[in-house]
Amino acid sequence: MNQNGSGKIVRKNDDLKSLLRDRDEHFWQLLADRSADAQSFTEIIALASLRKKAEKLGVKNETVLHDHPLRIALIGGSTLYPFSELIEHLTFTAVGPVEVKSGDFNNYRAEITEETSFLYDLKPDVVIIIPDAQNCRYTGGLTDPKDEIESAASSVCDEILQLAALIRENLKAEVIISNFILPPFTDPGPLRTRSASSDWNFKKTVNLMLGTRAPNYLHICDLEFLSYRHGGLNSIDENAWFESKQLCSPSLMAFAAHEIAHLIRGLRETPKKVVVLDLDNTLWGGVIGDDGMTGIEIGDTSPRGEAFKAFQQFIKTLISRGILLGVCSKNDFENAVEPFRRHPEMVLKETDFVSFKANWEPKAQNLIEMADELNLGLDSFVFIDDNPAEIEIVKQFAPDVTTILLGPDPALYVRQLKESRLFERFALTEEDAERTEQYRKEKQRKSLLETAVDMDSYLSSLEMTGSFKRFDELDLPRIAQLINKSNQFNLTTRRRTQAEIEQLMRDPNYVGFTMRLSDKFGDHGLISIVILRSTGTSNMEIDTWLMSCRVLKRQVEEEVVNEFVRIARLKNVRTIKGIFKPTAKNSMVKDLYPAMGFTPVKIDENRSEFELETERFQNKESFITIDRRTKLNEQGRSFSRTAEYI
């Protein structure tokens, strides 16, 4: 109940009831919207009752497109009412007219196998099986051998899969099965997780087997996940079990019914194919036209920059799900495209987009053109923007496009997309299967590492790529940040301000370079910094050498040494001096220089010196592929201030 402006008490659904009284056909759209948002059992039941009243009154419904109602059979090991009521209503409002028929309590095996059962009479389009949870338990002892427990889990899983296969074969229906809610109680204590036979672990095993063994026609209503999301103790209801053999708490039942309606809808709806993104304050913080390349927030320098980077990383994963990306931004084209071409922290590149519209035309217009160019329907488009006015324009002039209005906090952008349910995939394809095969081999390699500690094959399997680059303006904030923050892997711990670094970039006696590392699991970003200083015509000193600890033991050190020897040779330097200045925190690198082949020349409590003769140096082997080297514009002379870009 809410108080409205006039102080009169307004009850929820009063608006629906008034449309119903007037037999207004707008009733149906409002009912659908309200039902999609309804979170509780009571709300859904009340809406279902309004629906039935409207049907009885014959309120005209033009949103109905299907000629015959979708026939759904619900069978299982718990009482199926009122679950059936919730499923019927939410499927109706999500998909269209439905007819739901339920089996008897715990009679599903017979209903599936006996051709005289109601199932064979109904000829359902979809069959939902709620397997009996009482049957999903290990009856042996807590200390039984693991193999025995696994084979018991396997037979629970296989029985369900066989019943599903029978339905598929005999009735040609889509099959949805639910998996098992995990018991949320602390009992039996530590053995809950240590013993494969505990109810917790056993159900988890069966669920895992069901999911990974299910053929493509089988869809899973993941009660394990839904109850985790909802909270375990809120998901079960002992009382409802004893009173009327209910599957779960009414609140979880509401979520499960939503999930089933979503699955059924997904069987029919074409998935989204194109994601079109705004730029300013969507892919980066700030406005590129005003703030410029060095002013926008993107990358590891600031928390906001990191959030935008994470958002880009998630967007990038959509490509591998077969989704096309587009840009639609109110900007001058040259301004808009520049970060994609030149900003080192950008995850998304120009080539990731199939269409790039940066102009001053209305966005709806751009989207319509884009759909035309790509020969795709606007209903397969999702448009994402942080600006409510732009979202509104698209809603009005390109209403088939699904829109996402980003909230005020970029930290939550990824969550908004992950919760939108627009990019879900219902089954695995052949290609996926191939990839799975590759992963399987990969896994064998990893287990090799675990058993034999074969570091080489592990490093090789990471498929690492490194790239070196001279200091430039765009990297400057990150360089300054690392120089002033790194404590552990830092040989001299020499702090410098951003202005001092800029100064040094103009000084011909210095060469500063950075290294980035990526591997098959992703991009580690800028992870190492070196500043070399000439100390004579054939001598050079390593003024600064630091590295982010997250890439320790990845052979980054070896490649950095290779790189500064390469630079030294280009500049005809014969001796490179390495300095170690101990601090309270950098003892991890006290033996780094000797380990890299440097000879100690002075060992001291406060400062040790090492030397490396470039002539005798042999390149160190590593599993990192270097795809870019530091460029010395005018070799051996001055270093141009001009930033080098890829």
Binding site: A46, T79, P82, E243, S244, S251
Partner: protein
């Protein structure tokens, strides 16, 4: 909460669930309403629990003979929560 308030809220719940209009009185019982079968009864009890934010104990509702006795349990639970 008193009996009148509980009765009024119960009327709202009945209006939400039953298709026919039912006037809720303390004397009303399932036998008086055609729609009120054992299935609808489950939805009714769940709705009452959710709306009044209470839990009945096992077997408790079954033992009541009419709405009046049902309200007695509701009030017992609701008011106990505020002690």
């Amino acid at each position: 909460m008193n009996k009148e308030e509980a009765l009024a809220e119960l009327q709202n719940i009945f209006d939400d669930i039953f298709l026919d209009e039912v006037t809720v009185t303390p004397e009303l019982s399932a036998n008086d309403v055609e729609e009120w079968d054992s299935l609808l009864h489950i939805s009714l009890v769940v709705s009452v629990e959710e709306r009044f934010k209470i839990k009945f104990r096992v077997g408790e509702v079954e033992a009541t003979n009419n709405v009046g006795e049902f309200i007695d349990i509701i009030l017992d639970r609701v008011n106990a929560a505020y002690v």
